[in-house]
Structure formats: structure tokens, C-alpha cells
Symmetry: D2
Subunit: 354 residues, 4 copies
Amino acid sequence: MPSLAIHRLPMAHPGDVSALTALIDRGAVAAGDIRAVIGKTEGNGGLNDFTRGFFTQTLMLLLARETGQDLAALAARIPCVLSGGTEGALSPHFLLFAVDRAAGGARGLALGTAFSPPTPAEQIGRDSQIEAVAQAVRDAMADAGIARAADVALVQVKAPCAQAPGPGARAGDPRLLMALSRAAAAFGVGRALGDIPEGGEDALLRDRHLFSNRVSISSGIEVVANEVVVFGQADGWAPGLTAGVAPMADLLDLPGVCAAFRAAGLEAAPAVPAAQRGRVLGVIAKGEPDAAGAIRGARHTMLGDTDLDAQRHLRGALGAIVASVAGDGQVFVSGGAEHQGPPGGGLVCVFARD
Amino acid sequence: MPSLAIHRLPMAHPGDVSALTALIDRGAVAAGDIRAVIGKTEGNGGLNDFTRGFFTQTLMLLLARETGQDLAALAARIPCVLSGGTEGALSPHFLLFAVDRAAGGARGLALGTAFSPPTPAEQIGRDSQIEAVAQAVRDAMADAGIARAADVALVQVKAPCAQAPGPGARAGDPRLLMALSRAAAAFGVGRALGDIPEGGEDALLRDRHLFSNRVSISSGIEVVANEVVVFGQADGWAPGLTAGVAPMADLLDLPGVCAAFRAAGLEAAPAVPAAQRGRVLGVIAKGEPDAAGAIRGARHTMLGDTDLDAQRHLRGALGAIVASVAGDGQVFVSGGAEHQGPPGGGLVCVFARD
Amino acid sequence: MPSLAIHRLPMAHPGDVSALTALIDRGAVAAGDIRAVIGKTEGNGGLNDFTRGFFTQTLMLLLARETGQDLAALAARIPCVLSGGTEGALSPHFLLFAVDRAAGGARGLALGTAFSPPTPAEQIGRDSQIEAVAQAVRDAMADAGIARAADVALVQVKAPCAQAPGPGARAGDPRLLMALSRAAAAFGVGRALGDIPEGGEDALLRDRHLFSNRVSISSGIEVVANEVVVFGQADGWAPGLTAGVAPMADLLDLPGVCAAFRAAGLEAAPAVPAAQRGRVLGVIAKGEPDAAGAIRGARHTMLGDTDLDAQRHLRGALGAIVASVAGDGQVFVSGGAEHQGPPGGGLVCVFARD
Amino acid sequence: MPSLAIHRLPMAHPGDVSALTALIDRGAVAAGDIRAVIGKTEGNGGLNDFTRGFFTQTLMLLLARETGQDLAALAARIPCVLSGGTEGALSPHFLLFAVDRAAGGARGLALGTAFSPPTPAEQIGRDSQIEAVAQAVRDAMADAGIARAADVALVQVKAPCAQAPGPGARAGDPRLLMALSRAAAAFGVGRALGDIPEGGEDALLRDRHLFSNRVSISSGIEVVANEVVVFGQADGWAPGLTAGVAPMADLLDLPGVCAAFRAAGLEAAPAVPAAQRGRVLGVIAKGEPDAAGAIRGARHTMLGDTDLDAQRHLRGALGAIVASVAGDGQVFVSGGAEHQGPPGGGLVCVFARD
């Protein structure tokens, strides 16, 4: 019976995996048990953010050396969901998810992974991507042994983009294609979980009332397929870990943030007490600049700033709120929350041990 | 006996004073009663942020038209403390402080203002600036009728800088001169209040253990003198308003933020309840990127980002935390907290009505 | 018979008109003779660039004081075409065009101005804007006394935009609306001059082979109408000034730049000789980042940079090339050259005295 | 007798070495012959630019695979001088310098390389770094067989920096330390060549009249030693290649740029004719924003821009001027020209074949 272990590790720069090397060297993690990585690098989070690819290459080199497996095979098996941008209080780090097949228990937090087939630029933001993601979610649930959609806590996806979309692409602007890729992936997850039962490519970025509150999507040019990681409750997994998830109604929804920590069994009044901080194993948050240009009636300036990208604005703000509750800046915050919550809102997911 | 009124007004852009025009037109504010303005414009907050000067010019034009007074005389009498940069959840707005001499009460929140003589570039960051600010604080306390330093809640200063410091300046880099100006002004306030009883120009930016937690300084090239606004308790002022102040130990000190709101008589558990939000009249926060490069042991990336200025990082993060408690983004947040709190920390001041 | 005078004046910051004040004070310019202003301020050139509005306000205040005319009347009569962004070698400055009715000659460089009716957001990028600009060009030609389209050297337009386009606007993204406004204005000029004889709103931003090489458009939220300035040869104007115009085939077309200077009667081999630099009265250049992502087969990175806006990239590059020929950085360079030259190309216009 | 080959190769992103892989695969280059790499990646060129490390890692992985040599040994033998930042017209690319020992001739363009011992943060900007670089230049000259300093055309150095300088470092601000490292390396080269015969660490960044016009320095945290590449004339090397070098008096010195191309045997009137462009093998340019804040009396805004780093301004401007002469954007442009030319000036070096 398998057991999930979550390690939160710092990085000194995007090419630094020394914290993982140390864990492996002292036997705390077996390289072959690593199933997924979710991390934040210190780039700008946009099209020309190469810190994600740099970290992935460095990590896979380490794993190849440790496991003797081929680089390409590792990259095709282990989802490496990286989001660039550690604005404000955020701190570069990565979450390492390892599964020890020997351990086990009656019912606990399970992890499953799956990759869709490669998605060329022409398929991004199309029905074919939606369905490919839906199938990958079903595959990842099966991989985890999660029986029902209701048992899924969170689905994290890294969806592809293209730096220079060709004439066959749905959008010539790669930034728009990036948003379409996130939207299609969210629809795919929503379809698999029943959260977005209907709606196809025409509804992407348009019918904003359609969303799932259990999904977090990043998009980037450094992946070629939709990489899916599913978390949820399943039989046969060791107990002791919890994933607490709560929606955020808008960017300033501090009670929503606190609710996620409480759902993970922690106090948050308003911050997690120092004595409980060690129980926090990882935090994932998703949000977006309200497209209406205002939050609770007060105009914000995130969308019209020529010098500072809207998503950099967003991550700095959302990250600080979540970090102020969590107690430190090692929070995975990603902007671009299309169909991943109500317009202007988002979600928070907290991994904690009992 | 005088009465202080605080109005929090939005601006659609840095040249927009229509909200004040409307207040004046309907008789809610007499232009001649305006004593001070503290506001946030949507620039970058740095040397080449001209939104502050644009707003000031527009405001003074309105007041000149309404009062018949000379532009220069108004600018030399009414402190207009503007801070650029509304990153993340922050919203451009200004606080208008008006004093109605006819009203009154037994003891209440008082406001006093004063200007130092013009401070040329050569005096910035020198003992002469420290002493000039200290004297202006004493003058402003006298103006308000605040008898004792212990009765002062907050001193807000706008200190001058120079775009192209000449050879006689203490620093040739205008960014460093800006920091020295803030530091000297903080020392001046600390000297007047007894919070920083000793220490001269040599200690600026060096002896970081010397600080006052009742001072907020902005610096910019758009002012030529140190403009001082003092808030505190004094006899003869109308009751009904409170200024609650609390220090922040570091950027993530959410309990510290909540404490300031509670000091102003509001609940904050964790956010101000919707029913009480209307009682919030204004919020001022001050902070800085921790110079050690880490917050609670987690590395931050604010100081080494070539594309995004450290103070823009800071304001987006601090502003979001404070706004998530206050309930909206109309929060005055200013970076550069040298000697205005412990290293890496800051303060929050909340103006509220009973 | 009228005579055109062109003054090139520096600004120390966007609120600085002291160079003009000095000219007026010593009698070198009569405030009432000023017919148009074209200038570069040091903002970011984007939606949230308020340096343009700040300069305009400051300039109009000076002119109102000097002429005794109403601010609004002046703003509705004198086109003030400002472009933000002085990246790289560029230097903030403005060109002042004054017409002395008393002077005169047989035939020379003429200037005419006109304003279209206000263009609300819903009309931007529509056939109605195209026609309104075409009519304003005809009006400005009549104002100048320019008889034939062939005699027009350059038409400079400042076209409106909207910060928050409503549902009736052709584009919800204000950046796209800005581009549509420039495109429609270019079509309007092209229609009036016969350079773009056909093509309506559907062709904007699409049929890039339709362009005029005698037009330069800026767009911004600080104007509400299309403000048009026409330069060309007309009878009855004093001789002595030349406007030399040449197209640029792409961003690196240095021979094209040199050709414009030679068309204005100057040597450029490759730079204007020091002895002739004083004859340069003003330089206007227009260009755009090649949408194909490459220049002469070499990939450029202007379009996918999350931290640095494509137009800021463009202005820094184009501005430096033109300034290296002109001999200094007081060059008006504006990005966004839709239909103002071949795709990826642009134009240069040089004003010089004999 | 050895022969130098220079290949100019594009990169699609900082992890792309496919152009080199293709060269090796078709036998045009032997991996073991590669002696040095000089390239431009598309980062921001500052402290947090990780594109340089990403490219180096990718390149060394390829060379390790092809040569069977150890990664660390390769990195310690082959200087890989990368400069981030392809603003404006610049295009990401790298120059590959390969030496074929079997070929040969009587006298031609020679290349030599050397590494100093590792330079810890405490030694950066000190006399010990100056002398270490001087010795490495002598070693590299010996490696090339260049007999006299007068025969040296250009010395390119990549000097180390530290992301978080400790208390023993000469500067706590890593940006300042980066400048000190460039300055010390320039002094080291100047000492070895006799261009800066005297002056020690106290003169760095201060005595700006001390400079060499045959040196180009980049600095970055991705190297730990001073990596030196020397180019010059030497006996026994195959003829056919030329390195033409010319100083630039200031950023707008277009005649200076043209002079470098002519020194390499090309026409430049003003641009290299299309028929000769294929003879250009590589271009290196160095410059800096004039610290006086003006170029030829016209104020520039590079130094006070809070949103856009001064070196990004500089590279975009200088790169465009050089590219407009060269004919395309594959130009190595690096800012930070302390002691590498007169204040505000720089140099251009053109590699061409006959």
C-alpha cells in the first residue's frame, strides 16, 4: 500500500537542486519514488521566462544520474509543473511528491499522474485539448486509485503553449494562446470531475460563470503535452496527510484563505500559529486580476500597466495575502485563473500533515 | 473649537480631482478648510514618477480657483504627501483632511501641519535636514495644540529629493539620496518625539536599530521643503475620530496589521466586517523589503530583480495584506521604511470614526 | 503672408515649460502665434503614461496666462501631439510651430491644423473615425493653403483612445483599441491624400499592404478628438524651411534614414556634419516591431518580452539609429506604425532650414 | 599550424543549441576544436538573468556528449562569455570560435584563452583581481602565440560576481560589485597590454580617464573565475580573417561604428552592402549610458528610470546603431563599459573574412 510524502525545498536559483541532492544523499528520498514536482521559480512568469525550463533540465539531469533512466523518459513520466514569478514576499521553492509503494494504510491522500498526447499549437484552445485533458484526468485518477470525482481535492495541470503560433493556431498572439490553453485545460478538468459538465471551445474565456474550484492550471512553452497531477482521497493510501481546499471570492478574500488552512486541520486566526507552521507541507493558490478593473468597487491598475505585467501584479498581491496566513513565502501562486474560480476569484489548497 | 474631517476620495487618473470638485460643489467640504492631503497615484513610485506632480498641480489649480488664493501660497501651506505606485490590489485615491474651526469638542483627534525651510540637495541627508524636520514637527504639534509627544499618533512627512544631485550632495545617486532624505526625516521626527533621542547624519541608513514607530516618510523630487503633518490627541478638538497605530515586525506580520485596526476600534477577525467597513476613513502603511534577502528564513527576490523595482515589489505585497484586512484597496502604502520601524518591518495606521 | 517658425525646446521634466517661457519673455515667440506642438515626454508611452497629460496641462496653463484665452478654447485649437517614451538615446523635448501672419514669401513650408469632432470610444476604429480624420486632413490642408495632395509632406495626427472601453467599443482591450485608432487615423489620412484610396474598417490592422508613407499617428487617452497637423508646400508662405521625408523599409534601414536628411538639404555621410547640425529644426520618426518576429531573417525578441513593452523596445532602437544620424537625441520617435509604412517599416521626416 | 574558424549561430531560446548540433552532425565543426563561445541570450542582462547559466549548461551538456569529456573540465577550459539582453533590434545568437590545429599559414588572426584562479566575492574589485586578470591575459597571449601587446586586437573577459556579497566584499550591493568586477578586469587587461600602466583598486570606477579601447568585459554570477579570450595577429596562424576595432566617442558615434567595419575590410557607407554582409562573422560592441545624464548636451533618461534598467536602455540603443550598419541584429552588445573606453563611449569590434 502506497504512502505519499511531500517535501518543500528551497532553491538558491533556478539551476539549484542541491536541497534535493542532499535529501537523496542522506536517504530521505529515493529518486525513483519521485512522482511529481510543483514549484515556483524566480522568472517573470511570462512567455520569455526560461527559469522553468532551466530548473526542469537541472532536475531531470539529477534524476537521470540517480536513477540511470533516460532524460526524455523521465520528462515524459514526471509532471514538473513550474510557475515563474516570485513577486513580493514569495520565495522560490519546489514541492516534491514521492510515493513509497512499501508503506500504506487504509485510506489517505493519494496522488496520480498522467500525460496527454503532445498538443501541437493548432490544437491549443480547441475541443481536442479539452477532451485530451479530461482523459488525462481520468487516467491520473485511475493511477491514484481515486474512485469518485467527489474524492478529488485538486487537479494541477501544466498545459502547453507556443512561442510563435503559426497560421493554424486559434490565436496568433502567444499571450492569448496561453490563456486559451489554461481555459481549455480547466474545461477538461471540469468535464472529468463534473464541475463543468457542458461547454466547448466556443465558451472558453467567454462564459466565465463556468468554472471548477478544484483546479489549478499553469501554461508555458517548456512543455509539449498536458501534464496532470491529481490529489484526492483513496483507499489503500497511508493516512496522515490532508489537502484542504477553499475558494476565494475575490483577490481580497482573506476569510477564504483562512478557510483553506482550517480545511487542512490548521488554525488560522488570522495566521497559522508558529507551533503549527511545521505541519504546513505546501500551499497552492490561484487567482487573477479582476477583468472589470475594480475590486469591491475600488479601481485597480493591474490591467493597464505598460511596465508591469498584470500577472506579476497579481502574484505579488495574492502571494502576500496567502503567505501572511501561512507564515512564510514558500507559496505556489499562479495567475491566470480562467474558469478556475469565479471571475476575479480563485482558490487556495493547503497540504498539511496531522 | 476645531473639528477634523477625513474624506477618502477616488481618482480616475492622476489629473482627476472630480470627486473633490463634487464635494465642494455640494457643500460637503469648504475649500478653505483643507489642511492636508495624503494620497496614492498610479505611477511607479520612483524618481521618474511624475504622477505625483501632476496630481498636485491639478489639485492646487482647483483650490486656487475655489479659494481665490495664489497657487504658490497654497502649495506652501497645504502639505500634499503623495506616494506613487498602486501595485496589485491597491487603488489610486487620496485622503483629504479638512478642519472646521467652528465645530469642536473637549478632546479628540487633532491635526497640525508645518513646512521646513526649503532643503537644497546639498542639505539632504545631513544634520541640518534632521534638525529642520524636528523643528517642523514641533511647529506642527503646536499648530494642532498637541501638548506632549506621547499624544502623537503619527507623523507623516514628504521630504525632498533631487533628480540630478550636484557635487555637493551627500550622494550622487539620486536613489540613495532619496533614501537618505527619508532617513534624515525619520531621525528628525524621532528627535522631536523622543523616539530617537540621539544619533546624527552618520547613523543614517547604518544604525538600523534606531527607529520610530510613529512616522511615515515619503520622498520625491516634486517637493522642495520637508512637509509635515502631525496627528494626535489634543484638547479642544471634536471627538469621534481615532487614529490606531501598530508596528509590523516584518512584511508578513498579519497579526500586527489586525492590531492597528483594533486600535482604531474596529474588529479584524481576520477582516473588518462588512458592516464596519464604512467606518474606515483611511489607512496608511509603511514597510520595506528585508535587506537580509529573506523573510523568516525564506529567500525573497525583491532586491535583485532587474526588471521590477524592489519598492514596487514591496508595495504590492504589503498593500494586499493590509487591503485584505481593510476590505478594499484604498490603502496608502509606501516603501522605503528606513528608521520607520525595525529592519524589514513597518507600521500601519488606521483612521476610523466611532 | 505667413511665415512658419519651428523651435525645438528641451524639457527638464514633463511639467517643465521654462524654455518656452524664456522664449516668450524675450520676445522670440508670441504666445498667440503658436499653432501646434509635437513633443516627446519621458513616460512609458502606454496606457498609463500620464506625462503627456501633465505636459499638456502645464503648457496650456502658460498659454492661457500669456494670451488671456480660456484653457478649454486653447486645447480645442492647438494640436498638442505628445508621444511618451524617451528610451535609450532619446531626449525629452518639444517642437513648437508658430506662424507669423505678418511675414511671408512666394512659396514655402506651410502648416495647417484641424480637429475632428470628439470621437467617443464606440467610434474608434470605425468607418466614422476614418472619414472624420479624412475630413480633418482636408480642413487642415485648406487652413494651410495647400492646394494639392501631392504638395503634402507629412500629416501628424493625435488620435483618441479610451482607458476602459465599454461594451459598444470595437475592442475591449484598450491596447488593441489604441492600435485600431492609429490604423483608422492612418486610413483617414490615406483617403484624403489618395495614398489609401479604398478600404474601410474591416481592413484595419489586416490589410497591411495598405499604407501611406506621409503620415505619423500617435494615440492616447489624453485627447478626445482627432487632432491633425499638416505640413506641405503652399503659395504665400515664406521660403527657407524644408520638410524632407523618406520611408524606412525596415527597422535597420539606415540608408532610408540618411535619405530623409538629404531630402531636407543636409549631408548625411553617415551623420549630419557638426557644422550643419544647427540647421536641423526637428525630426519625426515612426516605426514598429516587425510582427513576423524577425528582421532580415534574424529573430528579435520585442514582441514576447513580459517585462519590457514592445513599443519601448522599438522606440529605443529606432530612436538611436535616427539620433546617430541627426547628431543628438532630440528626435520624436513613436511606435505603432500601422498602415504608416510597410509592415515592419516606417518613415523619417526632417525639418531643416536652408 | 592552426586555423581559426568563427561561426555565428542563432538560438531559438536560451536552451537551444540545435544549430551547433547540426554543424557537428554534418562535420562542419569538430566538438573538440571549440575553444571559446561569445553569445547573447534574451534575458534582462542583470543579476536575476538566468538565461546565461541555462545556455551554458545546455552547451556543455552537448559538448560533453560529443567529446566524452567531463562537464566540469569543459567548463574550466572553454570560456563561455554570455551577455543577457537582446533589446530592440538585437537577436539572440552565439559566436563559436574553433581552432583547427591541422590547418595553418604564415600569419593570421589568432585566439588564445586562459582562466584565472577562482575569484571569491571578497577579492572582486580588489588589486588581487586586477593582477589575476593581467596574468590570465598574458597566459592567453602565450596560448595564442601573440608576441607583442601591439598585436592584440581585442580581449574579451567574463568576470565573476556574487548574488549575495558577504560582509568581506568590497560592496554589499551586488550591482555595484558587478561594476567593480568589470572595472578590475578592465584594469587587468589594461595592465597586461600597457594601456593602463598604473592605477590600482582605489582608481576603479573613479579615474574614468584610465581606459583601454581593446577590451570588452561582461560580469555575471554564473562564472567563478575570470575567463579570458584574446584575439590578435600571430605567426603560424592561417590568414583570411580580420578583427577590426574602433573606439566610440559616445553612444551616437556612428562614424566610429563605421570605422570598425572598415577596419575589418568592409565598406560601410553607411551600411555594409548586401553583397558583403556574408563576410561579417561576428560583431562585438560595448558602451554605457553617459553618467553625466546627457549626450552632446541633450538630457537622456536612461539612469533614472525605475521601470527600465539603464543597461537595457543602453543595449537597445547601441545595438540598433551597430546593427543598422552591420545589416542585421546578430550583434553582441554589452553594457557596463567602465574603463573600456572614454566616459559615455565604448568600442566596436568586427570579425570578418576576406
